[in-house]
């Protein structure tokens, strides 16, 4: 390295600095900030009473409740599945561990519509497995079970991504210490490992919850978008917008946006608080 160069970056002269910051704002404003603002502007344009009325419609209520329900169940299922996967990966060697490790992160990369299609092709009435279940009266597609399948699939990597690094970081001797003190595998997991994962599980749950709440692509394929039966909040927004009921769509969109904000800020708070503790 050339030691005669100063290590700090040369500060740009003022006109440049002002120009670049202005460009940044000009780009970010219409790209990120204005669209979010638009939802609230439209939702409340005709007064709060209209907003509340749009929200209290039967279909809107159902869609919001269904979305919350699905998000909760998905978070729960994935926290169990994700922890199990991370534990197995951290503790055991088994054949095909590496390819499987890559595969389980794949859902992030697959377009959600493709996920929906593939689930239909597997579980649908004429799908690979579905055609044998159909005569038995078991039809997971176009039902809440189908939505859950899709959501668990799509959000799986988020939980895993939160839990696995923490579990991998735990020293082996952590478990061994518990063993020498007389704790068996189960007790060790319950008293020693699981409590160490609390923070990660919380983060993973929030991420899963947020993604599940907004999931559209896969849901629209597997649910059939049946009003008052399988219509989640994002599907409701889309349907209402298409039908020209912009107000109804906006009201639910605003509620979803608020949920997301809350989750986002809780996450922000949690990660910011966790950092100094680590150091």
């Amino acid at each position: 390295m050339n030691s005669t160069l100063p290590l700090t970056r040369v500060r740009l002269r003022l006109p440049w600095r002002g120009l670049l910051i202005s460009v940044l704002f000009l780009v970010l404003f219409p790209l990120l900030i204005m669209p979010i603002g638009a939802i609230f502007v439209f939702a409340t344009r005709d007064g709060l009473s209209r907003f509340i009325a749009a929200l209290s419609g039967e279909a809107a209520q159902f869609a919001l409740r269904l979305s919350l329900f699905v998000a909760m169940i998905t978070s729960f299922l994935n926290s169990v599945l994700g922890t199990l996967t991370a534990y197995v990966f951290a503790n055991y060697r088994f054949p095909a561990k590496r390819p499987l490790g890559i595969l389980i992160n794949l859902p992030v990369a697959i377009p959600t519509v493709v996920v929906g299609t593939s689930l239909l092709l597997l579980w649908g009435p004429i799908g690979l497995v579905g055609r044998y279940l159909d005569p038995l009266g078991f039809r997971p597609m176009f039902a809440i079970a189908g939505i859950l399948l899709a959501h668990v699939f799509v959000t799986f990597p988020y939980m895993l991504g939160a839990v696995k690094p923490v579990l991998d970081e735990l020293e082996v001797t952590y478990e061994e210490a518990a063993y020498t003190m007389g704790a068996g595998r189960l007790k060790t997991f319950w008293y020693v490992i699981l409590p160490s994962l609390r923070g990660a599980l919380f983060t993973g749950t929030l991420l899963t919850f947020a993604h599940s709440l907004g999931e559209f692509g896969a849901t629209v394929m597997v649910s059939g978008n049946l009003r008052l039966r399988t219509q989640t909040a994002p599907l409701y927004i889309f349907s209402q917008f298409e039908a020209g009921n912009i107000e109804a769509a906006n009201a639910v969109a605003a509620v979803l946006a608020i949920f997301s904000f809350v989750i986002f800020f809780v996450l922000l708070h949690v990660t910011e608080r966790a950092q100094p503790e680590e150091g």
Binding site: T173, E176, A178, T180, M181, G182, G184, K187, S196
Partner: protein, 621 residues
């Protein structure tokens, strides 16, 4: 409770990390297992705890075989090197964990925790979290946690590893006190000899998976059974002595054997160990209390608090190997004088007499040679040279195999086993070592971690592009702490040795080493100096010095002066004189200078088809 290990071994792949260890630990004893990292000591500890199961042998706790018991069933306390305190639990919860698992009721649990917190000197710390404690405090909590459920055995893995000196000393005291109070059988693993000396009722020394010695600290220190053990436990001066009835002769000095000591036969060679504090320095011979060794001069004197650490140069008394306070010059003795011993000279350059108050005799050991093999014919040749030299010097041979990639490991190990079998037909002491990694790096690690006198490597010689030679052989010969013999040709006896002398100096110990080889193989020595046209006085003067050293070893030495371009002249002499071994010097540690530029050494090496012994040139002061 007693612990006994009966011939336990643990293999990882084919490598024995613990190799046939048998050990008896008595009830209530504090036993310290001492060894360098990778010696297998931690694995032994983990086997006692049941965290690792032995591949062979039996582990007995209180005369009961526990091989098949899980860690949970063995009822041992284990303190991990990193403490492994549960971060989400408070100190009290951590300590109480073992009791909680054993379903001890809350009240009894709290009493026990309270008692333990007092014992470790942290009363009132129960509600804190581990992250709020210092390293030393965490360590104490880890000890308390391991003791809470009153285990029959307490096992500690490098318990003071990550702590500063002062904390270490405090914790040693505290551990000693706890042990005295509770009397629980304790095994501790450490690499630190002061831990071992201060704490151990008895200590065991491990190296490469083998338990080399066990006994009381002072006994092992004063009367070690091998040079490795002696060196591991502190600074040591070794000398080669010859038995003369009830005396050992070192150079011109005669040390009387203590009363009752078994005397080896007259004329037999022995190794003499004198610890720095067993030396004695005085202004005159009449004030010596021990046996007079020789007259010398203080080269260096360091006040180390209550005592002086000195380097004393005594011309007639030569150490047989590096050691002491790390001074490579064998005519410098490492001396430690305590201030309680009355007045003694301390000034640098002062003339003194040196005596020995006591000493210890070990069996003589010849050259310790390391040969690297790689499965090629060049490795084969190197091995033949190694066997030849070991045989001639009554020495020991270690054969090293290195596999760079995992897939090569099996093949390398097979080659190693074959080589070892072949060598064992001719030699008594053959050891093998296997390492995985970059060949040059692993050979260097091996030479640093163990005591060798010589490294032998096969090379492709003059048919190799110089870049190839630049890889393993070059790096090893430049960086190894000992001379390196590079063998590009099939084996041939050493009958004639050509020692090339430039004006740059090599270590005297290296010159003596060449002399030792010449003497043991019966080869004749020609000292060769090439002066560039015009001549250079200094080189010639140095030639005479080297000649004197070699002649003092009883060798007949011929000197030759060549003139002209250095490399060409050396090569010409090598061919015309039909020498069997060339000796060259190279700069220590400077690979670029030694090989990448066209130094004399690299040019000669890339063109010659004779074995070349490379000595180190001392870096200019």
């Amino acid at each position: 409770m007693s612990i006994s290990l009966k011939n336990i071994s643990k293999l990882y792949g084919e490598q024995a990390v613990v190799d046939d260890v048998s050990l008896e630990i008595f009830p209530g004893e504090l036993f310290v297992l001492l060894g360098a990292s990778g010696s297998g000591k931690t694995t032994v500890l983990r086997m006692i705890a049941g965290l690792v199961s032995p591949d062979r042998g039996e582990i007995l706790l209180q005369e009961r075989v526990v091989n098949d018991l899980t860690p949970q069933e063995r009822n041992v306390g284990f303190v991990f090197q990193n403490y492994s305190l549960f971060r989400h639990m408070t100190v009290a919860e951590n300590i109480g964990f073992g009791l909680q698992i054993r379903r001890v009721d809350r009240k009894a649990r709290e009493e026990k925790i309270h008692h333990l917190l007092e014992l470790i000197g942290l009363p009132g710390f129960g509600h804190r979290y581990p992250s709020q404690l210092s390293g030393g405090q965490q360590q104490r909590v880890a000890v308390a946690r391991a003791l809470a459920y009153e285990p029959q055995v307490l096992l500690l893995d490098e318990p003071f590893g990550a702590l500063d000196l002062k904390t270490r000393m405090q914790l040693r005291q505290s551990l000693k006190q706890i042990h005295r109070e509770l009397g629980v059988t304790t095994v501790m693993v450490t690499h630190d000899q002061s831990d071992a000396f201060e704490l151990g009722d008895r200590i065991g020394i491990m190296e490469r998976g083998k338990l080399l010695a066990t006994g009381e600290p002072s006994d092992i220190y004063k009367r070690p059974k091998s040079e490795y053990v002696a060196q591991f436990l502190g600074a040591a001066n070794f000398f080669t002595g010859v038995m003369q009835d009830r005396h050992v002769q070192i150079g011109s000095a005669f040390l009387p054997l203590p009363e009752g000591a078994a005397a080896p036969e007259k004329g037999e060679r022995v190794q003499v160990l004198i610890r720095p504090e067993q030396f004695e320095i005085a202004a005159g011979r009449e004030s010596l209390r021990g046996t007079f060794l020789g007259e010398g001069e203080i080269r260096d004197c360091l006040f180390v608090g209550g005592s002086h650490r000195m380097t004393v140069h005594v011309p007639g008394v030569v150490r047989s190997m590096a050691g002491g306070f790390g001074d490579p010059d064998p005519t410098n003795l490492s001396v430690l004088m305590g201030m309680g011993q009355g007045p003694y000279p301390v000034g640098q350059g002062e003339k003194v007499v040196v005596g020995a108050t006591s000493f210890h005799i070990l069996p003589y050991q010849g050259l310790h040679t390391l040969v690297g093999i790689d499965g090629s014919e060049h490795g084969e040749h190197a091995l033949q040279f190694a066997v030849y030299l070991s045989k001639k010097t009554q020495g020991r041979l270690t054969i090293l195999g290195v596999a760079e990639r995992f897939l090569e490991e099996t093949k390398a190990r097979e080659g190693l086993a074959q080589a070892s079998q072949a060598a064992q037909k001719e030699l008594q002491e053959v050891a093998t070592a296997f390492r995985r990694g970059h060949p040059a790096e692993e050979i260097l690690n091996e030479t640093e971690q163990n005591l060798y006198d010589l490294v032998i490597l096969g090379t492709r010689g003059r048919h190799a592009p110089s870049r190839f030679l630049g890889s393993t052989a070059a790096r090893v010969s430049v960086n190894a702490p000992v001379p390196t013999l590079l063998t590009p040709t099939p084996f041939q006896d050493f009958k004639k040795i050509l020692v090339c002398i430039s004006s740059e100096r090599v270590r005297k110990s290296d010159i003596r080493f060449v002399g030792r080889i010449a003497r043991n193989t019966g080869a004749s020595v020609v000292l060769f100096h090439v002066s560039p046209e015009g001549g250079e006085k200094e080189g010639f003067f140095y030639l005479q010095q080297v000649r004197q050293i070699l002649e003092s070893l009883g060798l007949r030495v011929e000197t030759k002066i060549g003139e002209g371009e250095i490399v060409g002249t050396i090569l010409k002499e090598a061919y015309e004189g039909s020498y069997d071994l060339l000796v060259l010097g190279t700069r220590i540690g400077n690979l670029r200078e030694a090989f990448l530029t066209n130094s004399v050494t690299s040019q000669v090496l890339s063109q010659v088809d004779r074995p070349v012994l490379i000595l180190h040139i001392r870096p200019p002061m």
